[in-house]
Subunit: 294 residues, 2 copies
């Protein structure tokens, strides 16, 4: 598993995902030279202090020069500008990939800026924690998780194979999907859960003061799991919701209908309805445990 | 911490909470004789096989005879009938407590059946997992978690002190609260989160088949935390919602309003609103970590 896939990798963004990938590459592909690019000097200083990259710069165009692989790992709202800035500095044959949680919007924002001869392989390593920043990363983040790649009609099979190889090298299982389908699946498995967690923690935050302090003390009853999710990076999540608007609103509509039905069952005291609904959700948990994603 | 508080404890119900308490009492109060009562023979056989109790019976009246402490630890819907059956068998000076997640309904259901000279100390150890049954219990379940006791106007201070002492013995921090206030706090910290988790996992379960299988594979993005909560005991939770109807519906109303506001912000593309809301929820997570409830 220490095959040498890329001589030089440019990580544009060195937060939780970027810094975890840097650490994992150090471990599994020690000959690869890694350059990190970030806007803030403090972020770059942290990356140097952690000794997880070889070079740092705040200039995306400089970062990608001579890179064999460029990984976009910033919040989604920065992608278009970064793509515009790096387009003319990419070397022929370079591969550009990304780690964004939305794929149609990424293709819309990035693709027009890439010159002919550069390969684009949109990707999404489905892994993360509620922590952010270069200090929060760790090499094992990707282990046994899924990475979804989006093959575009004009992407060469070699480019896909190399990106796939890198994610497999750091422990991921890789699968292929259409961008549209990806965005629907993730709206349900990730975006809607985050939206709901942000909402309920906000609802608790607005409670009268006497209730609010106790919500924190007695959070062990279920609430604290939501607070962990709702501690995720605000800018990253703002961008996800704005860039996957349609699919998120569709899943949210379905959720709201189901919640209204349960609300009515509680109001009317429909014991059988409640028990039946709570029983079938156990089966999904079992499937997740069997799929080793628990 | 191995003070001897009760000679004989009757556990009515020996699921996750009852069996965890049995294990913890074995450890911290080895002289205490424990009798377990359950309706199903298989449950009692499991309790014997696990060697966590001294006696078993399916007759609540027999279980409580000579008991110094009776702990109701069944789903809430069984409380009234159990209270009616044990009332005349309780010895003078016996203490009755419970572990239910709702307190006003418990007082309503149990209190009328207890004879004079028997002390009633409603209680709620706020601890649990998504697993149920006697095999799921463990002695450390209560460690560093809160137990809420509800002192009633006619409860003797000695009885409260002894119940408090037992929960402290097994590692809990104990606090006092009015039943009404307890039911509101728990509606927010526990009941609403469970209702939402059950709902979203149900929503996912109703997806078209091609989406559904992928929801399981890609659950690492946030969804799997909800599936864990939504794997909790269906009968127990049915009873909680039916017995804390008013407070749950009130908190649900607040949540729905907040969700609608976020939905509108997404639809209108209000980036600043989203970012501001997602930022303030991080503070609640920090408070929970500081309160050592994370």
């Amino acid at each position: 598993m220490s095959e040498h896939l890329f001589d030089r990798v440019a990580l544009i963004g060195i937060g939780l995902i970027g810094s975890s990938l840097a650490r994992a590459l150090r471990q599994h592909s020690p000959q690869t030279r890694i350059v990190a690019c970030a806007r803030r000097a403090a972020t770059l200083a942290a990356a140097r202090r952690l000794a997880i990259v070889d070079e740092t710069t705040d200039d995306p165009a400089a970062a990608v020069r001579d890179a064999d692989l460029v990984v976009l790992a910033t919040p989604l709202s920065a992608y278009a500008e970064i793509a515009a800035r790096i387009g003319s500095s990419l070397k022929p044959g370079a591969i550009v990939t990304d780690v964004g949680s939305v794929k149609e919007a990424v293709i819309r924002d990035v693709r027009p800026h890439l010159p002919p001869g550069v390969e684009f392989v949109p990707g999404h390593p489905v892994a993360g924690t509620e922590h952010s920043g270069p200090e929060a990363g760790f090499a094992e983040l990707f282990r046994d998780r899924w990475c979804i790649l989006i093959p575009l009609p004009d992407t060469g099979p070699d480019a896909i194979a190399k990106v796939r190889g890198m994610w497999e090298q750091v422990g991921m299982r890789v699968t292929m999907m259409d961008a549209d389908h990806h965005d629907k699946v993730l709206a349900m498995t990730s975006h809607l859960p985050h939206l709901i967690a942000y909402t309920i923690v906000g609802t608790a935050n607005d409670l009268e003061d006497d209730l609010k302090s106790e919500v924190i003390a007695f959070s062990a009853g279920g609430f604290r799991d939501f607070t962990r999710i709702a501690a995720s990076d605000p800018v990253m999540w703002r961008d996800i919701f704005l860039n996957n608007r349609e699919a998120v609103l569709e899943m949210l509509q379905r959720f709201s209908e189901d919640l209204t039905a349960l609300q009515r069952a509680i109001r009317r005291g429909e014991a059988d309805t409640l028990q039946a609904r709570f029983t079938r959700t156990r089966a999904i948990r079992r499937s997740i445990i069997e799929a080793k994603q628990a």
